[in-house]
Structures are given as structure tokens and as C-alpha cells.
Symmetry: C2
Subunit: 562 residues, 2 copies
């Protein structure tokens, strides 16, 4: 095991990067001149016309990167995704990476971005983590235009007879701002609107973000927007965007955002970064459009899903792939020695110590996620994302564990060595796709009842004994069935830290049931959200926000962002 003598920070590595003009990356993808537009020197947007031109081209192989249940130790799923994309290029394959775009809001609170790390980063990281090409601002605008139009409708006479106590559409802001979680709007008298309770979510929690990431084209985007249920009327009937007649305006506000963003990695591998919905109340993957476009532009697409395989991969495979008609070829399951040791009971401050006993104990978490991927009928490779402090013994243990079970595993040193450190993984991915039979199918069919769908996920993916419904959830289940929503897929909102709905139960808990407290209808996105615990859709800032350390020099150099 080689340790770098000097460990550079992500920002130092990024600032030394030799980026190509985005024109060169577009040329590499053989985009025609009219198919892309530059946004600065290192970013571009790609026209959806590309999909028409390439409609008869064979799709590239879609490789989904997922992980064990995340821990505070960090798993590096994005880093492996970027590193694997670079590595596939290094071994002579034409690869394109598809990633989520990060939300700006949280960066004011906690230091750190979401663009990979070490020598496996997408660039330009500062811009990607701030306003980027404005997609999230466009989604904020569309969401809040709808809010303003709803309140205006009520103020101007409320023809649709909207019950102001049953408006389910919330305002959003791309900011961690707890003071906006619960607000009263419309105060100040008759000319200032109608008072009512409201609240703000962070933008990535908007149903528009989920729709943005599931739409196949502009028409599909508009249709999904038109189906969104924003409120219920005095007869408890749903009121939709179509009822308000503003789906065209919302689509208009998204017409440029819907084009995928092209950037490059540190090694000049093309990456599409587009869309980034929450992985609890939504499905947590980059846009269908970006993934499908990447599969037209590359022979291999490397993409990721949110959180662990119990949430992210399940939703990728049951929601995104189903709606997007995406046929994944293989799953990479990322694990780290550190995180496995945490699942084995080691506290965060003792992770640097070798602990083979804890590692052995923690392997069960990985084991369960592997079983989940197998239940979708997909081949997989385990990627052990290597940290410089991992001991040889620990790494060997994981390799041996996999070998004994006939599981392919590769040590990914992509953080330290970029694509070169991922060549073993890349080769295994290619070989496995070539030799494996792929029997991918979603875990459940849509004709099952909502209850049966939730039971299926809870038992097969989480290892639960079953599902219990709160009184409220039972009532909602009945209402949703009456409204004809029984045939939608289910989007589980569960803690990411545990296979169960209790975040403290690490490893592979057994003998537990999943408590469904509440349902939400995301009819535009096309799923029913099942909420199992407190879901935070508006984060707060910490006592010492990262904003206090940020600065720009007179010459424009950024400080304190990473």
C-alpha cells in the first residue's frame, strides 16, 4: 500500500488541475456546434436535440454506484463514481459520468462540497458548488411562482374553492434556514392576501426537482408539472397545476435548466451534472435526461444514487429506471473499512485504529445490500474505497471475505491516484458486464397495492418483518386509493443511517418493523412518499456557520469554501 507523503486538500488539487476548454470535451463527445452552448470556459449546456440525432444509436452500459449505509466516517460514493469514470477512460473505454448537482444552501453551513474528492473530482468545483449554471435557481423560481399563483388565485376570488388549510404546496429556498420551516403568510389586512400557515423547504426537496429528474423531455416535463397536486378544495378534491392553468409558465421557467450540464473531471473525462432531488422524500438521483444522454454519448455511463443501496439504489431501480426506461447493466457497491468498522460498533474517534473484529462484525451491512442488488437481478462489484489510514490486514480481510463468497471486489484508490487507482475496478466492471447475464427487473410490479409495495421493500430491502401504519397513514392510504393513486410506485422516506427506521441500529438489524407515519402524494413526480420518521426538508445552520470563514480576495480568489 502506497501512502502519499504529502496529502493535498481537495481545493489544492483542484487549483492545480489542467482543465481543457469545454469545447474540447464537447468535441470528444462528437457534439455538433449547435448542440451545446458554453457557460463560462469550463461548463456547457447540451441541447436535448442530441437525443433525436442519436435515437438509433445503441445505448451505452449504465453502471450504478451505490453504497452501504452511510456513516459519519464517509463512504466516498461520488469519489468512486468519478474515479471509475476516469479509470474506464484509462483502460480505453469511452465513459461519461452522470452526477447530481449540489445544492448551494448547505455550503453556507458546513464546509465541503459534493463534487468527488482527491484526484477524482469534477471541475470547476467552486462553480459546481455555488450557482453553477443556475438550474437550482430556476427550480426555486418555478416552485415559488406556483406558490405566488396559488395565493393570488385565492386572493382574487378563489374560483377553484381551494381550502386554505389544505394547501400542500410549500415555498422553497436554496438555503439552510430553520426560521422559514413554519411561517404564517398573507398578514397585514385585506389587500395583502389571505392569511394562512405555510412553510419553506430547501429547493432540492421541491416536487419540481423530482419531476425535473424524472422527465424524459420537455413535453413529459410539462405533463408531470400539470399533474402536481398543490391543494385540496372544500370538497377535499385535489387541485392541480392544470386546474390553475400555469404548467406552461412553469415549463418556460425551466426550459434552459432542463438541458444537462457538461463539465469534466480532473482527468478530462466528460461528466453530466444535472438535477439533484432529496433521497428521502424523493428518489435522489440525477436527471433521467442526463443519464440517457450520457448513455447515448458514451459506451459506459457511471452514475450514482443517494444514500445507501436501501434508499438510493432501490429508488434508482424501482422509480428512475422504470420511468426513464433505463436498463442498468451493473451495480458497484461502495464500502470503506472505516464505515464497515462503524457498522461493527467502533465510534468515530477510534476509526484510525486497526480493528479486525469490528470489521468482521460490520460486514453484515455490506452483505445485506449485496442481497438487495441480487434481488433486482443485477450483477455487481464491490468497490472498497481505500483510505490512506486503512491497514493492509483490514483490506486483506475484506478481500478474503468477498473471495469466500465468490464476490468480485476491487480496491479503489481513486482518491489518492485518480483514474489509475481505479483501473482494477474498471476492468472488473467491464469483465463482469461482458460475462454476466443481466436479469434486471424492478422489485415490484405497479399492479400491487401501495401497502404490498411497501411490504415488499421493507422485507426484501430492509430485512424488516413487516410494515405498520399509523392511524393517519391508514386514513391517507384509503384516500389515495379512492383518488386512483394505487398504481404508483412508492418512495420511502427513511433514515439513511440504518437499514431499519431507527438511525442508531447499525450493521444488519433484525426483528424490526417499519412504522409508516404519514404518506405524501407526489403525483407529478409519480410516486407516493411513505414517511417513516422525522424527515427534515429544511436544514438549519450550525452555531458557527461556514459562511463566517468564507471570503473573496480583491482579485477574486475564493477562500473558505472547502
Amino acid at each position: 500500500m502506497v501512502e502519499n507523503t504529502k496529502v493535498k486538500s481537495d481545493i489544492e488539487i483542484a487549483q492545480e488541475a489542467q482543465l481543457l476548454p469545454i469545447q474540447d470535451i464537447a468535441d470528444q463527445l462528437q457534439l455538433t456546434e449547435t448542440e451545446w452552448e458554453p457557460y463560462g470556459r469550463y461548463k456547457a449546456k447540451i441541447s436535448l436535440d442530441v437525443m433525436d440525432r442519436l435515437k438509433d444509436t445503441k445505448d451505452g452500459k449504465v453502471v450504478l454506484v451505490t453504497s452501504i449505509n452511510p456513516t459519519p466516517a464517509g463512504e466516498g460514493k461520488s469519489t468512486v463514481t468519478v474515479g471509475l469514470g476516469q479509470a474506464l477512460n484509462k483502460i480505453g473505454k469511452k465513459s461519461v459520468i452522470a452526477l447530481r448537482e449540489p445544492s448551494l444552501g448547505p455550503s453556507m453551513g458546513m464546509k465541503g462540497g459534493a463534487a468527488g474528492g482527491g484526484y477524482s473530482q469534477v471541475m470547476p468545483m467552486e462553480e459546481i458548488n455555488l450557482h453553477f449554471t443556475g438550474d437550482i435557481h430556476a427550480i426555486t423560481t418555478a416552485n415559488n411562482a406556483l406558490s405566488a399563483l396559488i395565493d393570488n388565485h385565492i386572493h382574487q376570488g378563489n374560483e377553484l374553492n381551494i381550502d386554505t388549510r389544505r394547501i400542500v404546496w410549500k415555498r422553497v429556498i436554496d438555503m439552510n434556514d430553520r426560521a422559514l420551516r413554519n411561517v404564517v403568510v398573507g398578514l397585514g389586512g385585506a389587500v395583502q392576501g389571505v392569511p394562512r400557515e405555510d412553510g419553506f423547504d430547501i429547493t432540492v426537496a421541491s416536487e419540481i426537482m423530482a419531476i425535473f429528474c424524472l422527465a424524459r423531455n420537455v413535453r413529459d416535463l410539462k405533463e408531470r408539472l400539470s399533474r402536481m397536486v398543490v391543494a385540496y378544495d372544500m370538497n377535499k378534491e385535489p387541485v392541480t397545476v392544470k386546474d390553475l392553468g400555469v404548467e406552461g409558465a412553469l415549463t418556460l421557467l425551466l426550459k434552459d435548466a432542463i438541458k444537462p450540464n457538461l463539465v469534466q473531471t480532473l482527468e478530462n473525462t466528460p461528466a453530466l451534472i444535472h438535477g439533484g432531488p432529496f433521497a428521502n422524500i424523493a428518489h435522489g438521483c440525477n436527471s433521467v435526461i442526463a443519464t440517457k444522454m450520457a448513455s447515448k454519448l458514451g459506451d459506459y455511463v457511471v452514475t450514482e444514487s443517494g444514500f445507501g443501496a436501501d434508499l438510493g439504489a432501490e429508488k434508482f431501480l424501482d422509480i428512475k429506471a422504470r420511468y426513464g426506461e433505463i436498463d442498468p447493466s451493473l451495480v458497484v457497491v461502495v464500502a470503506t473499512v472505516r464505515a464497515l468498522k462503524m457498522h461493527g460498533g467502533v465510534p468515530k474517534d477510534q476509526l484510525e485504529k486497526e480493528d479486525l473484529g469490528a470489521l468482521e462484525k460490520g460486514m453484515v451491512n455490506l452483505e445485506k445490500h449485496i442481497e438487495t442488488i441480487q434481488s433486482f437481478g443485477l450483477p455487481f462489484v464491490v468497490a472498497l474505497n481505500h483510505f490512506v489510514k486503512d491497514t493492509d490486514q483490514e483490506v486483506e480481510y475484506v478481500k478474503k471475505w468477498c473471495a469466500e463468497k465468490g464476490i468480485e471486489v476491487a480496491i479503489a484508490k481513486v482518491w489518492e491516484d485518480g483514474g489509475k487507482g481505479g483501473e482494477e475496478l474498471a476492468q472488473k466492471v467491464v469483465d463482469m458486464i461482458d460475462k454476466s447475464e443481466n436479469h434486471y427487473k424492478p422489485l415490484y410490479t405497479l399492479d400491487l397495492s401501495l401497502e404490498e409495495k411497501m411490504e415488499t421493500i421493507a422485507q426484501k430491502v430492509y430485512g424488516a418483518d413487516g410494515v405498520d401504519f399509523s392511524k393517519k397513514a391508514k386514513k391517507q392510504l384509503k384516500e389515495f386509493i379512492d383518488l386512483g393513486w394505487e398504481q404508483l410506485p412508492v418512495c420511502m422516506a427513511k433514515t439513511q443511517y440504518s437499514l431499519s427506521d431507527d438511525p442508531t441500529l447499525l450493521g444488519r438489524p433484525e426483528g424490526f418493523r417499519i412504522q409508516i407515519r404519514e404518506l405524501r402524494a407526489s403525483i407529478g413526480a409519480g410516486f407516493i412518499v411513505a414517511i417513516t420518521g422525522n424527515v427534515m426538508t429544511m436544514p438549519g445552520l450550525p452555531k458557527k456557520p461556514a459562511a463566517m470563514n468564507m471570503d473573496v480576495t480583491d482579485e477574486g480568489k475564493v477562500e473558505g469554501l472547502f
Copy 2:
């Protein structure tokens, strides 16, 4: 007078435009490769490094376009600004236009953009009127990051002892949303923040927008941001951004936005579109940076100010030019036969009828604004913005009126004929600058008291007998003096429709006084706002919002925006 047989709409004209790649416009301005970045095919951002390279270059002549008091008839100040820029090019002068960027929010309510009209438009109009290059989104983000940081500071212990009843910093959104005018935030219990009254303004009303438009560089931007007063503490002492320690973060969020946006007109004349603060509670002009950059890149800069000369030109000349160290060469005062007739008493629905009596009666409004420009020591030209329904007699009357007073006037047919229709105006502007002595100086010196400054503006610009202060304003005046703010310039917030503070008094009212109801301190921007009536900082949507007619076709074509 030639009437076009077929009158095309702005959008039809725009869609027929032959735009040059933005590279060609950058080349025309002799920008080096590293000094600009493309944002799409027809937009770019220009680096502030240009100002260093050209610091010893002679400044171009700055021509300020202003108008009589606006009426519902429309004056076409932006159209004349664009047309004059095109016309200067046509007569062989190197001209650059500097304009405000429009706010997206209002477009959801009323049809129509803010990018000139007819054959004198800046392009691409759809993008300029929607998200453009994201500057306004960046300002929204910076404003609301500050709000979140204030509320978080209070929630986390309130070390600065902020009085939650005296937080003057409001949240903003780029949307017409009356329900957000008055809200209560922080509801929901102890972990959701501290409840307090708050409200949202439209983004262009943010003090950050005013600062954005007055800053000379990144350092000045940061310094002004740090001086903003966001609240008062329990001892009634001001709490600033510097006290919170987040001026660096706010500057970081604006680091790209602060670069001027380069676009072109229908005739490929370069235009910088950058910043657009309110013209009542702020100074209503595009950024100092854009105006100064334009004067380095062109021999003539054509720029505009908001509303009529009583508000826009006064603030340009007393605030923007003073802080920006801009030395204007000449003022163009725009009038139309239609608007002059309204000032003469004709209702809007009867404007198409020739009415020389009303026209004669309305000329006093123009006369007063001319006197104002003269009191600043500046040469001027009157531009009669020609509408196709104006009669020959009416046009002749205005020409004769000017001739009798020795006033230079030009008929601008820039809406119908583009730059060609503005050649007479352009030639007069050039001649007048060449032959006139320019004795420009602000109307008042900063050592006058705030009260004296307001008296000066009211008497010399509005023609009022004097200024009265409400009890509240008197109290504030004393407080502001105690806080050491006496030496700041004054920004008057007054109705734009009348020289007085009564919007129904058209023409040239006499024998009136100005009532100052309230003061506001924009310490970062560097002025004291004097509010004379109801100032609307958050518009509402109409009964049938324009949003209901908007659409995007499956192919991405925009409908219903104009």
C-alpha cells in the same frame, strides 16, 4: 411621416434578428481572450481585469437618457437608449450601451419585457427577461443567506443582543407575491428558531442590489456589504454585516454576478446589461462598474436612469455619478406626444386623437425637467420619441416650442427604424457635446444636513415650496444624525407619476409641499432613503396573471412571454 404598413410585434422582430456570435461583439470591443466568458451563444460576462488594462485609456463620453414623468402612455426611454446607441454607431462613432437588467418576477404578472422595443431592442430578449446570466438569483441568494444567518445568530444565543423587533433586514424573492409582504417566521417551537415578524421584498428592492450597482470593484463591494445595518440591538445600536462576520460569504455569492453582461442590439451594437435597483427606495440605474467599463470600451456610452428626470436623473447625478466618479457629458430628455398630452389632461383612451391644446398644456412637464438638467450644469437634447399615430401637426408643435426656447430637439424614430431613425438625435448629441461647456456638479454638497439636502431636491427638482416631516421622520432624523449618518446623500422615494408626491397631479404642479413620512438607512449603499408616500417593495399579481398564457412548445419555442 412614414407609417409602416405592417407593424410587427417586438417578439416577431426579435425572432427575425441576425445576431452575431458573442465572440464577434467581444472582438469588436477588442477584449482579450481571458477577459470574457461566454454564457450561451449570445451572452458573455466581462472580467473586471479589463478596467486594470485600460486604466490609462481616456474615458468615453457618458450620455444619460432620462424622460418626463412617466404616464401609462409609455415614453420608451429604453427604446431611445438602445436606438441612440445604434444610431451613434451608424454615424461612425464607437458606442456602447449600458442598461439595467430586468427583474423576472413581474413578467409572471404582466406581459412585456424591458429590453427596448421595435427595431431598438437588446437581444436575446427572452433570456434577458428571464434568468439571464443569474445575477438577480445571486443577489436573492446573498440577501437570504444574510437573513438565515441573522435568524441563526439569534437562535444560537444572540451574542450581539439583537432586538428581534428591530430587524430591518428583510428577505427577498424575485417574484410578485403579495402573500409574502407580511409574514411571521420562526414558528413551531424552540428548535425551529425564534418567532418574529418579517416580510419579503422583491429582489431588486434589496440593499444588496443597490450596493451591487454602486460598487466600483470587489473590494468596494465587500466594504459596502460589511457596512449594511441589518438590525438594532437592545441598546438601539446598529448591528452590521461586519458584526456578523459574513461580508466575505456575501461577496463570494456575488463574485461572478459582479461581472458585467455583454449582449448586442438588433443592429449588433454592444450593450452591457448589469444590475437594476428600484428607482424609488434605491437609485434606479445600472451598475457603476458597467457604466465605467462601457466608457473604457466605447467613445460614447448611452445609459439610462429610472422613471422621470425628477427621480432617475437626479439620483444618477447626485448618487451614482458622485460615488462612481462618473463625469456625464450630456443628458437626453425623452418625451412623447402621447405622454405630453396626458400631462395636458387627455385620458389614456383618447390619446390617438390629435389635440394641440392638451399638448401645449402638457409641455410644462418637459420644461421643468429641462430646468432640472440645467441646474446640474449639463448640456441636453430633447428626444421626441415618435409613435406611428403622432400627427405631423403635433410633432411640428413640439419642434417649434423647442426652437423658440433655443432647445435642441430631435425626432427619434428608433422604434420604427432602429439606428437609422435616431441619426438626427445622434448627430445632435455629438455636436452638442463637442460645442457645449459642461459644468456638471451634483445639486448639493455632502456637508449639507439631511434636511437641507431634501429641501434642495424638493425645491430645485420638484418645484415644491418645501419639505415637511412626519413625527416619525423627525425622530429618525435625530437618530440618524446621532449615528453619524448626516453626511450621506439622500435617495428620495416618491411617486414617479408626478413632480409632487401626489400621483394625480400631472403637468407641472405648483404650490405644494413634500411630505416625508419615514426615513430608511441604506448605509451599505451609502444613502438615506426619504419616503414620501406608500412605497410598494413587493408587487402583487393581477387577476389574470400573464403566467396563464405562457407556454413552451415541445421543441422549446417560447410563447406568451411578450
